[in-house]
């Protein structure tokens, strides 16, 4: 029996990986056959980024049970550190892929370190208070990055947080130019890297959930006092979840930043954080495959409805409300249970009657 349980768990994981791989192969084939429009091709990398963000936020919100509204802040830190690293390495590292990987790791590390530093004061709080503080943190990060000047000239590397102190010599180049953001960024990101990012995120999150660490994190979520009473260091585990989540968001951010030729800090605002949270909530708390699917659908939906102009966000909101209502409604659940029972019945004819009752 316990063997079966283990199998069921790893089977769900396998399905998750498989869905992502198959989706990648299909899109890649279509792409190579030139069947994708340029706008669709443009959506592929951001889509991968949002899937990773949703999965990493699900680790924090669904598995650890901590509501964080500052995920875009970590994404922003990752994006701008990634851009700086990629630009700095331009002369030394020839391969674009290696530079992108270095940028993503640097972006993740930077976001992870920030996550750790912020986690020290923030993780003393829980519930609503934690949500408020992470929201504030996201806005603070946006404003700090929006007022940062990073550049390089003949004398070396320059960094300032005020335009008057930033003096670049002849031939100097800004990597981040305050409120103007990063301009003239080399577009290193591609769909394959996006796919790899999703796979790495899934690997880390799924392995973490199914390890003793994940068990401890879920225990802390279910009952903090009981978890402490069996010798689990609650603060340490909330911190681990927070830092891992921040690291993955930073990696995704770096890929996102290197996908556009120009990007400003305002992109990583509260709205983006909330959007990612919506992906997580609609996909189901703690449901990783759900996050992948809902991020895909909810990212494509508003883009696909661009033709509807002003009505698009209204429709988007209506769709969200309907999905919420339907997934909550017991009658709808009953109906889906009957439906899945029938589908199972097709594959296993003998059992159909039992499933329908």
């Amino acid at each position: 029996m316990k063997q079966l349980l283990k199998n069921k768990n790893s089977r769900t994981n396998m399905i998750t990986y498989l869905v992502v791989i198959v989706a990648y192969l299909i899109m890649q084939t279509l792409n190579s056959m030139d069947m994708l429009g340029s706008s669709v091709r443009g959506y592929l990398v951001p889509l991968c980024v949002y899937i990773s963000l949703a999965v990493s936020l699900n680790l924090l919100v669904g598995i650890c049970g901590e509501l964080s509204l500052g995920h875009a802040g970590f994404m922003g830190i990752g994006a701008f550190s990634g851009i700086v690293i990629a630009s700095l390495l331009k002369g030394t590292v020839q391969s674009d892929t290696l530079r992108l990987i270095a940028a993503m790791i640097a972006g993740g590390a930077m976001a992870g370190v920030m996550g750790f530093l912020i986690g020290i004061p923030v993780l003393r709080l829980r519930g609503d208070y934690l949500a408020i503080v992470t929201l504030a943190f996201g806005e603070i990060m946006k404003n700090i990055v929006g007022n940062t000047y990073v550049g390089v000239d003949d004398t070396g590397f320059h960094f300032a947080i005020s335009p008057t102190k930033m003096r670049l010599g002849e031939g100097g180049k800004y990597f981040i130019n305050g409120p103007l953001g990063a301009t003239g960024v080399e577009k290193l990101a591609n769909f394959t890297m996006g796919f790899l990012l999703v796979m790495v995120t899934l690997f880390v999150v799924l392995n973490l959930i199914n390890s003793k660490e994940g068990r401890a994190i879920r225990a802390v979520r279910d009952n903090r006092i009981a978890a402490e009473s069996v010798g689990i260091n609650v603060t340490a585990f909330r911190m681990k979840a927070f830092v891992v989540s921040a690291f993955l968001a930073g990696m995704a951010g770096a890929l996102f930043g290197l996908n556009y030729s120009a990007i400003t800090a305002t992109k990583f605002n509260f709205n983006t954080s909330i959007n990612i949270l919506v992906f997580v909530v609609l996909g189901g708390m703690g449901n990783i495959l759900g996050s992948v699917i809902s991020a895909t659908v909810l990212y494509i939906l508003p883009e696909a409805m661009r033709g509807l102009e002003d009505f698009r966000m209204i429709l988007y909101a209506v769709v969200l409300i309907l999905v919420m209502l339907f997934t909550w409604s017991p009658k709808f659940k009953e109906a889906t249970a009957v439906f899945t029972g029938k589908i199972k019945g097709i594959f296993r004819p003998g059992k159909e009657a039992g499933n329908n009752e």
């Binding site: 316990k2 880390v204 392995n207 003793k212 225990a219 009981a226 402490e228 069996v230």
Partner: protein
């Protein structure tokens, strides 16, 4: 006799040590423990010594401070006065999870299981500190980690089997019947490899036959694992039958200590539970 036990003898506590534990370091040694919440003194001058293989009970009327004492012992609260020594180590200033590593485990009056996880996983959370693997190892599921995880599963199943819960291992803890949940909590506490287990009303909500079974199980836990058990219980049948020593508290203070027979006849205890007899009341 070592340094420690000499020091211990000076403390004028009524020791409840069983004879077999006389020359051993007590697993729990509490001296002059007290806690104030604002102006309210919840526990005061609480002394108790528990030997390594003793089953002792803590009884008292509602609101006497029994659970508060348990919370003090496991560092959920920090005491205002006094000291707690677990296996000879002072727990002052320690957090709950550190105290647990010293060898104290507990169950809760209002059951606190990880309701969304299976019974097996609940026990494996208790075995958390037994799986010694750094974060990176468990992240990549390397073979040593898998081996440790497999051992933990086997041990968890053994413990579940010990309490007769093997067949519910893969059920969600929250969906189990009340009595089973209580026993699962005991298994989880045992999984932390404790030298003393604190049971907070283990028989609450159990029917008489379940209670009788629990009595046997409590004795079996002591005899199998050679650990001490300290329990709070309102079921006098269980307390009087299982406990070798009993302490009675009222208004946060110990009013009597002794064997079950002594406690049964103690006038202070009878008064605390039943009130003073009309005729003897003075005024």
């Amino acid at each position: 006799m070592n340094e420690y036990s000499k020091k211990m003898l000076k403390v004028p506590t009524y020791t409840l040590l069983r004879e077999q534990d006389m020359d051993k370091l007590p697993v729990l040694d509490v001296r002059n423990l007290g806690i104030d919440f604002g102006g309210l003194t919840a526990v005061d001058s609480f002394n108790i010594t528990i030997g390594p293989t003793e089953i002792s009970g803590l009884i008292g009327p509602n609101g006497a401070g029994k659970t508060t004492i348990f919370n003090l012992l496991t560092s959920v609260y920090q005491p205002t006065r006094g000291s707690i020594l677990i296996n000879g180590i002072d727990t002052k200033g320690m957090t709950t999870h550190k105290v647990t590593k010293l060898g104290i485990a507990r169950t809760f009056q209002n059951i606190r299981l990880f309701t969304d996880m299976t019974a097996l996983d609940n026990v494996k959370v208790g075995l958390h500190n037994e799986i010694k693997c750094p974060f990176v190892c468990s992240l990549f599921h390397v073979p040593p980690y898998q081996k440790a995880e497999k051992r933990a599963t086997e041990k968890a199943m053994e413990l579940l089997d010990f309490m007769g819960l093997a067949d519910i291992a893969d059920q969600k803890a929250g969906s189990l019947p009340y009595g089973v949940q209580r026993r699962l909590e005991i298994v989880r506490a045992l999984a932390t490899n404790p030298s003393i287990v604190l049971l907070d009303e283990p028989a609450a909500g159990m029917n008489p036959s379940e209670t009788t079974e629990l009595m046997h199980q409590i004795r079996r836990i002591r005899d199998t694992f050679h650990i001490a058990i300290f329990l709070i219980e309102h079921d006098m049948n269980l307390v009087m039958n299982v406990c070798e020593a009993i302490a009675v508290v009222n208004y946060g203070r110990i009013i009597a200590k002794g064997t079950p027979d002594e406690i049964r006849q103690d006038p202070a205890v009878i008064e605390a539970y039943l009130g003073r007899e009309e005729g003897k009341a003075e005024c």
